[in-house]
């Protein structure tokens, strides 16, 4: 009885302490976004009075709305593109038996060994030659094909009984119809997992949007934040933090809602 109580005390102490440390940078940023510049400069911790001034300022002085819209469009495009293209590929790997399948499968594995940075220079030239600099396709299309997503979905498609496929073949249902009406609905939860993952990573992308945009009309929020930081000359921390908080909120919410699913998906990616 006493040992279990002591154990509880030890664990709760450790948990609270570490959670406090891990969350501190985020918490501080949140607090600062509600503080006046004077309060920040004098080293206040808790704001005396909540002011939304920083938020008003950041929207007034920067095209933050445009950045947010761009990020939303690009992330949704990448998410949908990845879901469609990965699920089609995963379908072929599970349900269609044909010559050359193993070779293509090997090609998919090989793609995981090539870091994006190794192909970024020619990719930049390709996008430039296609006139895709400062455009949504230029920001999204290079990320549509995805080996990780294909493997994750393949793992789930495999659990669909083969008899179902045979029965549908007998009643004359074609592959594409079977894919649309049976496979996709059954694998809905893994599609959601992959979707959340795709959205998160696209929203947070940094290097490619930095190269592929030169114009505020197409810049994403991450690059917007970079602009904000360099232009503000580090004097108005409240405004910068307000911008950072706005950038972080959509992904934090998505993470909190989809944490369980994401964790399952990532673990499966690690183990299967």
């Amino acid at each position: 009885m006493t040992t279990s109580l002591r154990r509880k005390v030890v664990f709760y102490t450790l948990l609270t302490l570490t959670a406090f440390l891990v969350f501190a940078p985020t918490f501080i940023a949140f607090m600062m976004s509600f503080m006046s510049n004077q309060e920040i400069m004098t080293g206040q911790i808790i704001p005396r009075s909540l002011t939304f001034d920083n938020y008003v300022q950041v929207f007034q002085r920067f095209p933050l709305m445009q950045y947010l819209l761009n990020s939303l469009i690009v992330s949704l495009l990448i998410m949908v593109g990845q879901l469609v293209i990965s699920s089609l590929a995963a379908y072929a790997f599970v349900f269609i038996d044909f010559k050359g399948r193993d070779l293509i499968f090997f090609i998919f594995i090989a793609t995981m060994m090539v870091p994006f940075e190794a192909s970024i220079i020619p990719n930049f030239h390709t996008i430039r030659d296609l006139n895709w600099i400062d455009s949504y396709p230029g920001l999204s299309v290079p990320f549509f094909a995805m080996a990780f997503g294909t493997f994750l979905l393949r793992q789930h498609f495999k659990q669909i009984p083969k008899e179902l496929k045979e029965a549908s073949e007998i009643s004359g249902i074609g592959d594409f119809k079977f894919y649309l009406t049976v496979v996709l609905p059954v694998a809905k939860s893994s599609l959601v997992t992959l979707g959340v993952y795709g959205f998160l990573t696209s929203w947070n992308m940094y290097l490619w949007p930095l190269l592929a945009t030169t114009d505020d009309r197409f810049r994403t929020v991450q690059i917007g934040l970079r602009q904000l930081q360099t232009q503000e000359q580090l004097n108005e921390w409240g405004v910068i933090m307000a911008g950072a908080v706005i950038v972080v909120i959509p992904t934090l919410v998505l993470l909190f809602v989809g944490q369980k699913k994401l964790q399952q998906g990532l673990t499966e990616g690690a183990l299967k």
Partner: protein, 312 residues
């Protein structure tokens, strides 16, 4: 396979053969059409550019990336003679050395204490996972303030305990360590989530039978938890390794490669060489070196993880 669909009349042997051949062709066609979008995109944005990078690395180029003079392996020779690139390699290895064990040990500790069945544990898990939802750019902004020489919290804390302030991002002795600290923090969310998933998939029965034998907490940790977790641990280590080699955003936001090139990591070096100096040839050679590092790491992961990684 599809005999039911065949006509009931007697079928000649070679007819049957022709049918199955035709069916095979249809299947192949179907298979390729489902895979075509992926294969096309991989070719255009991954394999072609990889080949092109190798090709570029053997040339000098003009500022728009058109090859001018074939120089063979000279670009490679030059970068390995360049003190800046050698410094960059050294910094990258040091950075890997700081961030990989740092992120793994912290996350492993957090995952172990967050795997206890306690009331309200979900809250703590969410806190730990939270850094995964924070982008590199935003996290860099957070840390830029914490590292601020006068109003930043870290120096204020040092001030309270009577230690002289540190130039976290401006002192060549500290800059790489500071960037590494912020990177470990950014990585915690992802590594924690994966490790927690690994811990939760360990069969509870193992612990029950250890309990019957009267095993203590640390004994179970050493003899059950860590060995059972090793495949997940291995995966996370490789991913963190590869991520460390690919670090760019926090460098660009926090230090721009400075002070005195202390934080001039490989990807930042490639970026500068290609998109600021327009030296696409040498930049490509550097990119190929990076590719080789990551290739080797991935192959090691596949080989050593083979028993656990079943793709086929």
């Amino acid at each position: 396979m599809n005999q039911v669909a065949l006509p009931f009349k007697q079928i000649e042997a070679n007819d049957l053969e022709r049918m199955t051949k035709k069916q095979k062709r249809i299947k192949t066609f179907k298979g390729f059409s489902f895979l075509a979008p992926s294969v096309l995109l991989f070719s255009l944005f991954l394999f072609y550019p990889l080949g092109r990078t190798i090709y570029l690395s053997l040339f000098l180029t003009n500022s728009s990336g058109i090859t001018t003079v074939f120089v063979g392996l000279e670009n490679y020779q030059n970068i390995f003679l360049s003190p800046i690139f050698l410094k960059s390699l050294q910094s990258t290895f040091l950075f890997v050395l700081y961030t990989v064990p740092g992120a793994i040990l912290v996350s492993l500790f957090l995952a172990i204490i967050a795997n206890e069945k306690l009331k309200g544990i979900g809250f703590f898990r969410t806190m730990y996972a939270s850094t995964m939802g924070i982008s590199t750019a935003a996290a860099s902004v957070f840390w830029l303030f914490l590292f601020h020489p006068t109003i930043g919290w870290l120096n204020q804390l040092l001030n309270v305990i009577g230690v002289a302030p540190i130039g976290w991002l401006t002192d060549p002795e500290w800059a790489l360590i500071s960037v590494a600290i912020s990177t470990v923090w950014m990585n915690i969310g992802f590594t924690f989530l994966v490790l927690l998933g690994g811990l939760q998939s360990i069969d509870y029965y193992l612990y029950e039978s250890a309990d019957i034998d009267g095993a203590g907490y640390f004994y179970k940790l050493r003899r059950i938890t860590l060995p059972m977790l090793s495949p997940t641990l291995f995966f996370v280590i490789t991913v963190t390794f590869i991520n460390a080699f690919q670090t760019f955003g926090q460098i660009d936001m926090l230090t721009r490669g400075g002070p005195q090139n202390e934080t001039h990591l490989m990807v930042y070096s490639i970026y500068q060489e290609a998109f600021m100096n327009y030296q696409f040839g040498t930049a490509s050679a550097q990119a190929i070196i990076l590719f080789v590092f990551i290739l080797v790491l991935t192959i090691i992961q596949f080989k050593l993880g083979e028993r656990k990684v079943h793709y086929q």
